[in-house]
């Protein structure tokens, strides 16, 4: 039995549609006898028979699309015992096809004197075996190695992708689509949407329900697409204060943030990072006093402070407190450390007197002990500047003749651009960096 695979009927056409069989199954045909008319993207062409013999089987009827290279018909050829179907990689029609495909320099074995084996040295193995990569099953979906690799590259969870291929096979296009619309992020489990929004912030929504009512009788929010897993609760106490202060800041301040790294390679072992940061703040204010100031936007007035009281952000489970550390510019290391500890303790015990929570002139947020590099810290008016220190890290730095690994503290300075210029802020930050880079 000989299998006739559909040759390329045009220039690289992927397939063709059977218009009409010009013979019937069981007919005897001769070589070059018109066998079938087929419509390609370009024309309707008649395909001649590559064999003399009996047409044993058609692989499709009118209207069926046959892929180039896929079986079109089977023949019983004289001298062919007919035991087993041979796919046509060697027999007539595809041989010429294959030679054409492979380029004109390929094997012209009848040319005689010099046979081009496709290589200048050695013996190449050539096989007729056709590779069909089997799909594997990942999370209950069928997928080929290339598509699985693509999913990994695009960070798409295959289990959550809508399969469009035959037999439920996930195609590359499916994975791309999922990556684009974000419907199947890897690592997000099979519920992609649920954790995306914890709770809608009340601000951007133009209030279908007034805010005041909201804090009362545990209100039901408008129906949502996905069911929230928790209950609505009113925000009280320090959290509510935080929300108000932050809103006030957002409404009134024009914040601009500068970021840079302090190279602290020269520090002695055991330096107190917070104390050094406080000292650097004063160094900054010495260079640019305008950042250690208060600003009244309505009256358009400011006070540039002669002393420095630093508001230190202290994180607690109940919310953020900003405790004031007085006269930082006049304190020594031990004094500062003692005062910091006292304030922290008072905050943690919730025994801090109100006067310790106000009248600071600049703010320091040292979030680096948790994580994070840079930030866009938020100013509490009437202050005009806040400095945030991120997580200490090692960084490769270029030095004369090579590179070294230095310890760095990333700093982010937000200033109120109504009250300070960019130049003032940059010089302030530069003075901080210089002070922090000192050995002691």
């Amino acid at each position: 039995m000989k299998v006739f695979n559909l040759p390329d009927l045009g220039e690289g056409l992927p397939d063709a549609e059977i218009v009409e069989w010009l013979v019937s199954e069981g007919d005897e045909v001769t070589v070059d006898q018109p066998l079938v008319s087929m419509e390609t993207a370009k024309a309707v062409v008649e395909v001649p028979s590559p064999f003399t013999g009996k047409v044993a089987k058609f692989h499709g009827g009118p209207g069926d699309v046959i892929k180039t290279g896929a079986p079109l018909a089977e023949f019983q050829v004289e001298g062919d015992a007919g035991a087993e179907a041979t796919t046509q990689t060697e027999p007539p029609a595809t041989e010429t096809q294959a030679a054409d495909d492979a380029g004109s320099t390929e094997e012209k074995s009848d040319q005689g004197d010099r046979e081009d084996s496709g290589t200048v040295v050695g013996k190449m193995q050539a096989g007729g075996e056709v590779l069909r990569e089997r799909t594997s099953t990942v999370g209950g979906v069928k997928v080929t190695p290339a598509v699985r690799a693509l999913a990994r590259k695009l960070k798409v969870d295959l289990a959550a992708v809508q399969a469009s291929g035959a037999d439920g096979v996930v195609t590359a296009a499916d994975v791309r689509k999922a990556a684009e619309d974000g419907s199947a992020p890897a690592g997000g489990g099979s519920k992609p949407e649920a954790p995306a929004q914890p709770a809608p912030s009340p601000q951007p929504q133009p209030a279908p329900q007034p805010q005041q009512q909201k804090t009362e009788a545990s209100p039901e929010p408008a129906p949502r697409e996905t069911t929230a897993s928790g209950d609505w609760e009113p925000v009280r106490g320090t959290r509510r204060t935080m929300a108000r202060v932050m809103s006030e800041s957002h409404r009134s301040v024009v914040p601009t943030t500068l970021m840079d790294d302090a190279d602290i390679q020269g520090w002695k072992a055991g330096e107190d990072i917070t104390v050094r940061l406080l000292r650097a703040l004063w160094a900054g204010a010495s260079a640019e006093p305008g950042l250690n100031a208060w600003f009244d936007g309505q009256q358009e007035m400011r006070i540039v402070h002669k002393n420095m009281h630093v508001g230190m952000a202290v994180d607690t489970p109940d919310g953020l407190f900003v405790a004031a550390l007085r006269d930082v510019n006049q304190s020594d290391k031990a004094g500062l450390r003692g005062e910091i500890n006292r304030l922290r303790e008072n905050v943690q015990n919730r025994s801090i007197p109100p006067e310790d929570l106000k009248d600071y002139t600049i703010i320091l947020s040292n979030f680096g002990k948790f994580a994070g590099r840079y930030a866009t810290p938020v100013i509490t008016p009437p202050c005009v500047a806040i400095v945030a220190a991120g997580a200490l890290r090692h960084e490769v730095v270029p030095v004369l003749g090579g590179v070294e690994v230095h310890k760095m503290i990333p700093l982010s300075l937000t200033f109120d651009h109504r009250a300070c210029t960019g130049g003032e802020a940059a010089r302030f930050l530069k003075a901080m960096l210089d002070d922090l880079s000192k050995a002691e």
Binding site: E129, L150, R152
Partner: protein, 326 residues
């Protein structure tokens, strides 16, 4: 859609890339009129002309230098070296210039070049024709190293290599250039360059390999499956950067790993993978990681060539050994 061989996949990708981007040029000894040492560039000269398919003198150092220069100036050269052993004179340009250009200019310039060459043994070639120097290139910072193992991956990875903004060493496993055919659509779709390809799933052991050894590894997997062993096969495909994550994930599941490579064992990619597994996956391992490799000798001439190459038998034996440890 055509059923094509691995080398035809390379040709198809080259033609596609040249068609879509005029800055892509092909250069090397005999890549033009003659169509390249294994005919990977057949037909390109006719189609794209002298300016874009350039026959160079027989001088590897010049080819490499010219390629780096072209790439630094905005072209996308794809250079052919005729055999892996002849890339050794090119190393200065690859390591000291191509791989460093981005860093040296702080990102102002990159080096979007591809150096492609047939690699590996098993075709009865003379000396300097059969090396597997992937570890050598993978050791160079700033260089990607890619080895396809099927016609479709040759096509997709080559396209990605050409489009990549950084230098790519594209090693073509010549022993399997014409071993298999596969239906490959010439649709310009590239394949990811930094992930492994899991060719079959299994639960008992992970076989990790790349390039021509995919042939013996898949045959070994068939044999082992006939014995009732469930084998996962990973084609690494991109040697550098190495996607250890896929390998570790697989080994976390199977608990056993055999790495198969044609290159000598000492300081090799197989060693790197084994070290990566020891580093991150040791708690999941039920048995030592085995490496089935070529030997630490000069690649022998053809009478002994097949004694050197990892065989199906050696792979099956190694798997049986790791399965014995419980």
């Amino acid at each position: 859609m055509a059923e094509i061989t691995l080398i035809e996949g390379v040709t198809m990708a080259l033609a596609r890339a040249m068609e879509e981007d005029e800055s892509v040029v092909v250069l090397g000894e005999d890549v033009g009129v003659n169509g390249g040492v294994f005919r990977a560039t057949a037909g390109l000269h006719q189609r794209f002309g002298d300016d874009r398919v350039i026959d160079t003198p027989l001088a590897e150092v010049m080819i490499a230098g010219t390629t780096v220069g072209m790439a630094a100036q905005g072209m996308k050269p794809v250079a052919e070296a005729q055999f892996c052993g002849f890339t050794m004179p090119m190393i200065d340009h690859i390591m000291c210039h191509a791989g460093r250009l981005r860093n040296r200019t702080r990102g102002r310039l990159s080096c979007p070049m591809v150096l492609r060459f047939p690699s590996g043994g098993g075709i009865h070639a003379p000396e300097h024709h059969s090396e597997s120097p992937e570890a050598l290139y993978a050791h160079m910072p700033g260089i990607r190293v890619v080895i396809p193992s099927s016609p479709s991956r040759a096509y997709g990875l080559m396209l990605a290599a050409i489009r990549d903004p950084d230098p790519v060493i594209f090693m073509e496993p010549k022993r399997i250039y014409r071993w298999q055919k596969e239906e490959v659509v010439d649709d310009g779709e590239e394949l990811p360059l930094d992930v492994c390809y899991t060719l079959r799933d299994g639960n008992d052991v992970t076989l990790v390999t790349w390039g021509a050894m995919i042939k013996e590894t898949m045959q070994a997997a068939d044999e082992l499956e006939a014995q009732g062993v469930s084998v996962e096969v990973i084609d690494v495909a991109t040697i550098s950067p190495l996607d250890m994550e896929t390998i570790i994930e697989s080994v976390e599941r199977t608990g056993r790993c055999v790495i198969v490579q044609e290159a000598p064992r000492h300081c090799s990619v197989a060693s790197e993978i084994a070290a990566g597994l020891a580093d991150a996956g040791v708690w999941h391992l039920h048995a030592p990681v085995k490496r089935v490799c070529g030997y630490d000798v000069v690649m022998p001439l053809y009478r002994n060539e097949m004694k050197y190459m990892p065989s199906v038998k050696r792979i099956v034996h190694a798997v049986q050994q790791v399965l014995e440890v419980s």
